[in-house]
């Protein structure tokens, strides 16, 4: 039941997140769904969703294939490392995690751009990192609230 609900939730979330991404250049909005799934310990499901997100991000991006793989791979790694020290559903953990993801965005692009002879605009990159951290924080709360509420209705039904 929960898996079916998660499918439906993702089916609604993904198009909306793609539209929002169109308004915030350089920011990954899809990542919020992945964080929520990891916090709910849906690890196998998260891995499949990650593959879909990799295809979407690589498709809409302009770098050679590999950036999104590192981005989501790093997210998984950081999440499991962070889980050793913090409670994954804690707000403080989320705050730290979003900041670390913002920093990771900068580091990844600084690493990948020279491989393809690309010039990066560092102020734009820092702005994107800030927006990435802010976006995770701002979207996580309403998404979790909405998901829990809908799940409660689904269970009751």
């Amino acid at each position: 039941m929960k898996t079916l609900f998660t499918f439906l939730w993702l089916f609604c979330f993904i198009p909306l997140a793609i539209v929002v991404q169109g308004f915030v250049p350089g920011v990954d909005v899809l990542v919020v769904a992945l964080i929520i799934l990891l916090q709910e310990k849906e690890y196998v499901f998260s891995a499949w969703v990650m593959l879909l997100f990799v295809l979407l991000q690589e498709g809409m991006g302009t770098l050679a294939f590999g950036g999104a793989v590192l981005w989501y791979g790093g997210l998984f790694l950081l999440f499991f490392c962070g889980k050793i020290f913090f409670e994954a559903r804690n707000v403080f953990f989320l705050l730290l995690f979003s900041i670390v993801l913002g920093i990771m965005h900068v580091l990844l692009l600084l690493m990948l751009a020279p491989l393809q002879n690309l010039t990066l605009n560092v102020p734009t990159l820092l702005h994107e990192a800030f927006m990435q951290a802010l976006c995770i924080l701002l979207l996580w709360f309403p998404m979790v609230w909405l998901r829990r509420r809908m799940l409660r209705y689904a269970n009751a039904a």
Binding site: P15, I18, V19, Q21, G22, V24, P25, G26, V27, D28, L55, L56, Q57, E58, G59, M60, G61, T62, L63, A64, F65, G66, G67, A68, V69, L70, W71, G73, L77, H105, L108, L109, A113, N117, L118, T119, L120, N121, T124, E128, Q132
Partner: protein
């Protein structure tokens, strides 16, 4: 023991990643797959969004916002009459040029067919480093990589990567963009180079000349083999002869602000046949436009 296992797994994953990355750089298989699946999915979502926008805008414009429509209609009718007379004059000039070329036995230049396309969105996602846009045309509908993109004001860029019906276009402001240009009046050549969204592009490798002035329009020279010659690109805003370089220092502002573009034309390459022999490529759902063999610079 546990730490060693973790290090082994991380090292293995990095090794696999590097293998995948280099293999893809050589074969482009994964890039193609991402364009066919990811870019296409994004294009489908934004096509639906734009259709919804059009629907509500249509309701608003057709039934609600009718104030001043009559007055605007009259003004537009007058404008159409003016443009028709101008077009008739230009048609005469064009016919004359064709006659003279035939007389001189000049080879007919490679021809291009314009295809209308819609901008779905700007650059998006954490991997979109380049200055780019996403358009609703793909390799099945005329947007193969390298296809020039332009508006009636001038050049916008070229197609970088294509899915079946969606493509990513590289803007001329991107630092990786290079276009062979020439001054419209001075005929001096150079390489138009983007410097990112926040800075005006520069024109490199221009020999010092007093003939190139601020305000001159730069057009494509066609020497790069990507863009047809004669498309307006930018206006020179700074042209300085310096002592410390053997080339001029030129800054130019693009004629088209790519952030404001909603629709554009893609120039599909249709071969080098003479105008009177070639038939325009036609899709059953598309309006056929006459092929463009020359580009008359449009005054901004």
């Amino acid at each position: 023991m546990k730490i060693r296992r973790i290090l082994f797994i991380v090292g293995g994953a990095l090794f696999l990643f590097l293998g995948m990355y280099t293999w893809n750089q050589r074969t482009q298989v994964l890039d193609g797959m991402a364009a066919n699946v990811g870019l296409e999915a994004v294009g489908s979502v934004f096509t639906l969004v734009r259709k919804g926008e059009d629907f509500f805008a249509g309701i608003w414009n057709s039934y609600v916002n009718l104030i001043h429509v009559n007055r605007e209609n009259e003004a537009l009718k007058n404008r159409v009459a003016d443009l028709e007379s101008l077009l008739a004059r230009e048609e005469e000039n064009r016919a004359e040029i064709t006659r003279l070329r035939t007389l001189l036995d000049l080879p007919t230049t490679t021809d291009w067919t314009p295809i209308a396309a819609r901008v779905l969105t700007g650059r998006m996602g954490p991997n979109s480093v380049l200055e780019s846009i996403i358009v609703n045309r793909g390799y099945l509908t005329g947007a193969i990589p390298g296809t020039p993109m332009l508006t009636q004001q001038g050049l916008v860029g070229r197609i970088l990567r294509s899915g079946p019906r969606t493509a990513t276009g590289l803007l001329l402001t991107d630092p990786g963009s290079r276009i062979a240009v020439r001054g419209q009046k001075s005929r001096i050549s150079g390489i138009f180079t983007g410097r990112g969204a926040h800075y005006d592009p520069e024109v490199r490798f221009v020999d010092p000349s007093p003939d190139l002035h601020e305000g001159e329009i730069l057009v494509t020279s066609g020497l790069d083999g990507i863009y047809p010659r004669g498309i307006p690109v930018a206006r020179v805003v700074e042209a300085v002869i310096t002592d410390h370089s053997r080339f001029m220092q030129i800054v130019a502002k693009p004629l088209v602000d790519a952030r404001q573009v909603e629709e554009l034309l893609l120039l599909e390459h249709v071969g080098a046949l003479p105008l009177h022999v070639r038939q325009p490529m036609q899709s059953p759902h598309e309006e056929v436009k006459p092929p463009l063999s020359d580009f008359s610079p449009v005054a901004p």
